[in-house]
Assembly symmetry: C2
Homo-oligomer: 333 residues x 2
């Protein structure tokens, strides 16, 4: 199954002439509390398991996409023109290819990302989520968000979770064409929830998360237990969110992240994103927790930690981690 | 099944009056290349899986045990009298209890351990292995080493692997009484093999390996894959030893150690023996290896790493890790 087949299915009667020349949209970044780790279809970014994230409110990407009279696409990120042979430009152009009605059609993308790029927050998720909504506006598709999440997924798996604010669940689905692999908003808010970003390193990763994921799936002796782990974690996490049981919430999110990293550790050759400072910070978090501060972490495919805690503990957390950047995902609500 | 039942089976017709008043023996320390991680019987230290180690030649424990006229046992380790309410004394006394013919019988143990106690080398393995051989001499049991390995196991699981010099395999066994859970020497030597000790911390562990093991068995989502991992690793490791394929040997040993630590990471709550320096050293080892130096590590339930390399690379290894202590397990042979 190809991406173009998915496009054909979803846009069949919509892919028409539009009078708009541009479209604009914002999409928040998201942090997975139960991780997306492993694909069942690499071409369509179909995951082995479902996953669950919280969006980061006003932190994300604002994108304008325009039709331009030019011989190639133009990509601008944070006021800088991006060379078209860079990794990120290639991915965006390949994504845009799916939506050109002819080879002469070219786009200009102008994206402003207000998340700290160095903090290990995946900027690709919010970028593709904003882009697909901007394209929807440009072409007047009027697709609903669930279908847009399917299209965003074709650009970057976790992008499908950035279509909404709040807690979002991405259903793994079972279909070959991935039409049942979409994200949706969970009907819960948690106004006091805080996410703290701790930047340990802003150096490029030694191995991309896409590659790490695939190597883990293919070689880890533990990966076969990952789907079962996720199944349990997802159920408990949703219960913890619904009942606002913060200790349960934090411990499941932390345990899920550690299980993801443990699976990488047993890949062949082993993959370890951790730096010495990552371990120092883990021990510090566990020490503080043992002393009574309800603070947990999650970690994606990089060395940085993301802290989870409640508004009541902001001052204590700041005292322990003065360099922390705090985001309250539900602040506006 | 109780320890005393095992003693009865093995010493039935041997547990007799002896004219000796003391016995002496030496046992080497051992480093597991395929780890012992998880018990199927806590009382008898019966393991879930087989394991494989290399003994450290002249590094180990020299123990003399004597019958004394006193109201309690006396324990001396490295010229120091040990208080009987310490952890190590309690374990030794409990072990001696198995061999007293009456409650008035008391022992003096005098042990000299010449391994760096701070290097994360389990001193209990060589201590119990030396002690059981000293007791065999004292009581003139004349048990063979395989049966002595069964008795040593009752004191400390991995002690059964310290009965021999060289590569030793501990068979998990299936019997309830553990009579088929013994160690034996593998018929291979590897004169150029080096083990390097890197001391990262000599602080007491935050959690004993016995406790970490049990918590992992009981709560890790990945532990159920451990036996299968060990089965493969054991087979490949023996093949690598037999064919002196060092890269295969090193990579399996390293992978096995990482899988053990990955299983702990997914215990509930998570267990992490690593310190920041552990991770720094891992990255350094991987970097050197990527540059062409065939160097691998293994790690037990502590923060320290044990390096594996060949004699030809001693100088380069010393240049990279000036603080390393190098042992050649087969030097004497």
């Amino acid at each position: 199954m190809k991406k173009s087949d998915v496009i054909k299915t979803l846009l069949n009667h919509r892919y028409v002439y539009t009078e708009n020349t541009s479209g604009s949209a914002f999409a928040p970044a998201n942090i997975a509390l139960c991780k997306y780790w492993g694909k069942r279809d690499i071409e369509l970014n179909l995951p082995v398991t479902s996953s669950l994230s919280v969006s980061l409110g006003e932190q994300g990407a604002h994108t304008t996409v325009s039709l331009i009279n030019a011989s190639e696409d133009k990509i601008r990120i944070n006021e800088e023109d991006i060379t078209l042979d860079t990794q990120i430009a290639k991915r965006l152009i390949e994504f845009l290819d799916l939506f050109r009605s002819n080879t002469e059609m070219h786009f200009a993308i102008d994206t402003k990302i207000n998340i700290p790029m160095s903090a290990g927050l995946a900027s690709s998720a919010c970028s593709f989520a904003a882009l697909i909504q901007a394209l929807d506006q440009l072409f007047s598709w009027q697709l609903d968000r669930i279908n847009l999440s399917i299209l965003a997924r074709l650009g970057s798996g976790s992008a499908c979770r950035s279509l909404w604010d709040g807690f979002v669940k991405w259903h793994a689905g079972k279909e070959e064409d991935g039409m049942d692999s979409f994200a949706e908003l969970l009907p819960y808010e948690w106004p006091h929830l805080c996410v703290g970003l701790l930047v340990i390193s802003d150096q490029p990763k030694p191995i991309s998360s896409r590659e790490a994921m695939q190597k883990t799936v293919n070689t880890s002796c533990y990966y076969k237990s990952w789907p079962e782990k996720v199944k349990t974690d997802l159920a408990v996490l949703q219960e913890a969110i619904a009942s606002r049981d913060f200790d349960l919430f934090g411990s499941v999110a932390e345990s899920n992240a550690l299980a993801m990293h443990a699976s990488m550790l047993t890949a062949n050759p082993p993959i370890l994103y951790w730096l010495p400072e990552t371990v120092a910070m883990m021990h510090q978090i566990w020490k503080k927790r043992a002393e009574g501060l309800p603070i947990y972490f999650t970690q994606d495919a990089g060395p940085n930690l993301k802290l989870l805690f409640l508004k009541t503990d902001i001052e204590q957390v700041k005292k322990t981690f003065p360099e922390i950047k705090i985001i309250m995902p539900f602040e506006k609500h």
